[in-house]
Symmetry: D2
Subunit: 365 residues, 4 copies
């Protein structure tokens, strides 16, 4: 079973290679009656565009989304609405420099999926990483914008931001600052030092990793024990982003060092006193904010010479040229948000199917 | 869509509450012709039994598994074999002290799923945590033993061990030591200090967390981009274990602090030089050992008084009595192994469906 | 992907062989809060017991169901209730005469799955047909009884009855008569002639087929275009019963001979004038009764000598002995009802997930 | 769970409305290495084009397919090949007369899905039937052409043809004649009488139904008991085509009137003697040709006045104008073939996943 579909009820299937004709997403299971226009989706796509942050490359792909199906504006409605039928989103590729990849046709770039795609499929579109390219995440962001429209109805929202980059960590989490710097960092001062670090590393022909934190407001009751627990589903969603190598919820790896009496969040009539759980208990949301952190590895495309092999398994020296980001941050930020949104939208529908009148039940708690 | 099924092709559905009649697993999709006896499964179950490690409680549940269907011994075969039909495994509950939980009927234990199960379902079996009990993992371990029989055919194996407990980390990874101490620790000396720490915490009526590492040998080519990447699937599998709050692959969170030139594993004709990737590139196994670490939170059932609320949302003081482990480690060790085995068995079948003659293709690389 | 799970949201997985230890079903996705006792399920099982109709064999399997998990009786509730966790149902096999099948170990019975199971799996439990036995349907009936509890909440009900047997068709559909004869026939006089025909065929060592009609009251809006249309889903559900070789909806094959002006059901403010559609338009229920008919082939186990081959593909003459029904009717009647109930329960939950407040929307039509 | 995806391993998701921007299909799970060009798909699409048969309307939609992703031509290969990544197919709508439908905005056409879509979704794109239009099947035919490339590798093929139309049945099945008449009829003489009948009905402003038979050569061992039996899956696949109201396998409804001794197909060392089973025993293919027949209802769009209601549930008289086919036959022929191909391709991959070395096992029988 191939893996290009995400979600059980709010189902998204993405397709497309970095240097193919287009890429896109089909959303099946979006409830009818939600407002949805191309502008709403475009707005999200703009946030992951190259050139938006100091750590990104200057590729100027317009990433213009088109809605091909699944919406309709009935007479008398002010906005186009979803109809409950599949929503097909297409983004045509424009600025694809295929030729700059021809020298990579027969060699495997370290840290990339070249070798594993070859092992898995026995054939691969080598141009720009093909399906393994980060460009694929544009389709996720577009789909996530549709999920947003559903979450909004339930007053649920998601925000991601940078908490570490190139070894520099934020000292504060002032969310009002996130929109004030190019790195989506909740600490303007740390952001400046991060930018400085990025410039330095760029000069060395190298790249850096970092940590992204995602915060989401979430109704209680979402998550499906025992295998589709909300934390597990979020972990899978985020780990499915190419650069992510670790996921932790709430206290995360710190919890491993705590005592039970420290880690347990006491409960009071007005809510939990503490959030070491990250908003999830026994795989089900508890009404507190979801708190998730992901480890982002450095971009594997570096300008330094590396040791590798070719298709004939002969040793080669390789130097990856072309335009590349220095870090997956900040462009990964809207991708993280999209994956969390898609996960929450899916679990929202799953809970609606399970528990008719669920809103009332949870409300009465 | 409820979440009690794991896997797409090697599909496991578990059922059962801590203090119900029985618990079990149904495996649908296990290939025919594999040797399978109750003894093979029982052997794995013994490894997660209470009383096996210093950090566990003395509950003496026999956990005797019965195979109800899906196997048959044809004339002339020396061993019972799987038939390709569903394998039903049942473990009857014997030593269930339901009464000791009646005082918890109307209150929510901090750190447990009591409140979230109530919010989600509007009803819950409060006895021993019901479906949210760690006892549910017995069914996973039983199912994992079946997956083992499939992996064995492909020379794939999985081993988990403790690398930190109660704030004490191992200094070595000598896998020959894992079987020599009760904590499945690859460092006998660290294991002793961990046991000492556990005794100390037990006296305080408190509990501890830790870190488990899982190592797996794995054929290249497993994992299904872009959403069912092998690392994402492993993360979900492991995060679906109650006590797990974080998962990292290979260098994991350390990768966030590394440069691209440090993090990339160079490739040579005899394999990768380094394993920061943890055996997975672009979501597909690369033939190196899989390396995964999970953060295990402290057991939430502590003997100290805690602040909580009851069903009427009135404040209460609560002290969880009864027999409880001090740490989910070591009993979580075979559970981690089971979840990784189930994940690999599933992806093995997924790859066989995708790529007829896949063995040859990868062999020719 | 193995096929022992039915349904997307109301998911049933069955397991068990005819002569194994037990058979059973796990229901995952049943909403919490429904009344459910073993007696409710047992009542349905009694309807498919051998010896209930003149066309059945005298095997006296008690078919006693046990609920292993997924129910709980909270303090103050008069009835045990579903909890939203998996409901495991087990029926132990008692009256299994395995020895009477040993002579069939190496030969393929015509009309049975012996040869195809061997071709598919390369191994098979030959005793009593193993997994291919009609005995497997006991698990379906048990699961269908759980679905009934959900449908009842929405005033939906399902009834099946015999409309042809051994070449004799009913001339009326008086549903009050269905409970009055052993063949579940809505025409007592036809039932008598059918019984006479069955006795005659029994004397000849032969078997007969027939036609079953299923009538279901159903809310409008169920069914998921374009591939999971309600008629398609019902067809699959019913065709998955061993003896069924044809399914038609509403006018069915007669529609192929009609003009558009004859076949279209006119619409009036009080509903449809006619029901050639069988209650389904464009794959979605329209509020009229669902009407489905299935063709039931004669039982393949006959007492006459037949031509076949053995495992070595050598020609053999075979005479299937033992106790066998003369027709799958009437025991197939509750199985048909169960499959329709499971289908409707699943689509009910699917619609709830799609359309929050759906009841109101359809109500306003 | 919405229903726009077909298949478990060879998964097809279709999208698009009759009068939207475009329609398309995404195929996820197609094995890598198959030859695939736009021309191969286009060829199949041409067979379902309007104007191809006497019973069709003159709408001249070019139905030009584009492959957006999932194929690549490696250096040195003579043909573009599938890569194992999702194959996205898009067909832009050109000749859409939306205005001709504006008078149908608020009324429900009898025999159509207008009313049920409204009941289900609370909103609908009324133009040309929206998602319920037969135009949606173009995406199925395109996807089926991809499945063809997989089946070809295993020497499996599918052919459909008309066996009844407007009350006229064929008297022979000479498959060499199928390509010789516009109705895909294996009896040229019957085809002439059918054409005459169609002309007559057209003059009356009415429409006709018919029966299509599908013949497929199929390896033994396909089909997944007990719920995803091959006959059940084929029934669902075919019943998911708008006009189909009945499906039968092999002897089908005739089997209901036969004795066991007549219906059982004897087995000989060179194969089955007879094919009442239609090539399927116990839900698994037995190596004989699959034989399936479907009942096709008359097109509901007739030029005669009909009784209906509007959105306010007031009675209205309605006369559906515009260009319409007189029968779904012959355009439904390639759609039936496509659905059977998609089903077989899916079950082929499912069997490969279940039974490594399956070809050999079945070969040794």
């Amino acid at each position: 079973m191939a893996g290009n579909t995400f979600g059980s009820l709010f189902k998204v299937t993405t397709w497309g290679e970095s240097h193919g004709t287009a890429l896109g997403a089909v959303i099946d299971g979006c409830p009818p009656g939600l407002d949805l226009t191309e502008e709403m989706i475009q707005e999200e796509l703009e946030r992951r565009r190259p050139g938006k942050g100091g750590a990104t490359s200057p590729r100027s792909e317009p990433d213009k989304v088109q809605i091909m199906s699944g919406v309709f504006q009935p007479e008398g409605c002010r906005c186009q609405k979803t109809t409950g039928t599949p929503i097909s989103l297409v983004i045509f590729n424009k600025d694809a420099h295929s030729k700059s990849y021809s020298h990579l046709q027969n060699v495997f770039r370290p840290g990339h999926g070249d070798m594993t795609y070859q092992a898995k499929y026995g054939i691969r579109d080598h141009r720009g990483g093909g399906r393994a390219s980060a460009r694929e995440t544009a389709a996720r962001v577009a789909a996530g914008a549709v999920a947003s429209q559903l979450l909004r109805k339930y007053d649920m929202s998601v925000q991601a931001y940078t908490v570490a980059l190139g070894g520099i960590s934020t000292e504060r989490r002032d969310l009002s600052m996130v929109a004030e710097n190019r790195l989506f960092c909740p600490d303007n001062e740390a952001a400046e030092r991060m930018e400085e670090r990025v410039r330095e590393v760029r000069r060395q022909g190298d790249t850096v990793g970092g940590v992204v934190e995602i915060l989401a407001s979430c109704l209680p009751g979402l998550g499906e024990p025992v295998f589709d627990k909300l934390d597990g589903e979020l972990a899978r969603a985020l780990m499915s982003i190419g650069a992510v190598k670790g996921v932790e919820i709430g206290a995360g790896f710190k919890a491993a060092e705590m005592l039970g009496s420290e880690n347990n969040d006491p409960i009071s009539p007005v809510g939990f006193l503490g959030n070491n759980s990250g908003g999830i208990l026994a795989g089900i949301s508890n009404g507190e904010d979801l708190v998730i952190r992901v480890a982002v590895k450095p971009i594997p495309s570096i300008h330094k010479e590396q040791q590798s092999v070719n298709l004939l398994n002969e040793p080669v020296k390789i130097k990856v040229g072309g335009r590349h980001d220095i870090s997956a941050i900040p462009r990964i930020i809207p991708v993280c948000e999209a994956m969390v949104r898609l996960t929450l939208a899916d679990h929202l529908l799953r809970q609606l199917a399970l528990q008719e009148g669920w809103g009332q039940v949870t409300g009465s708690e």
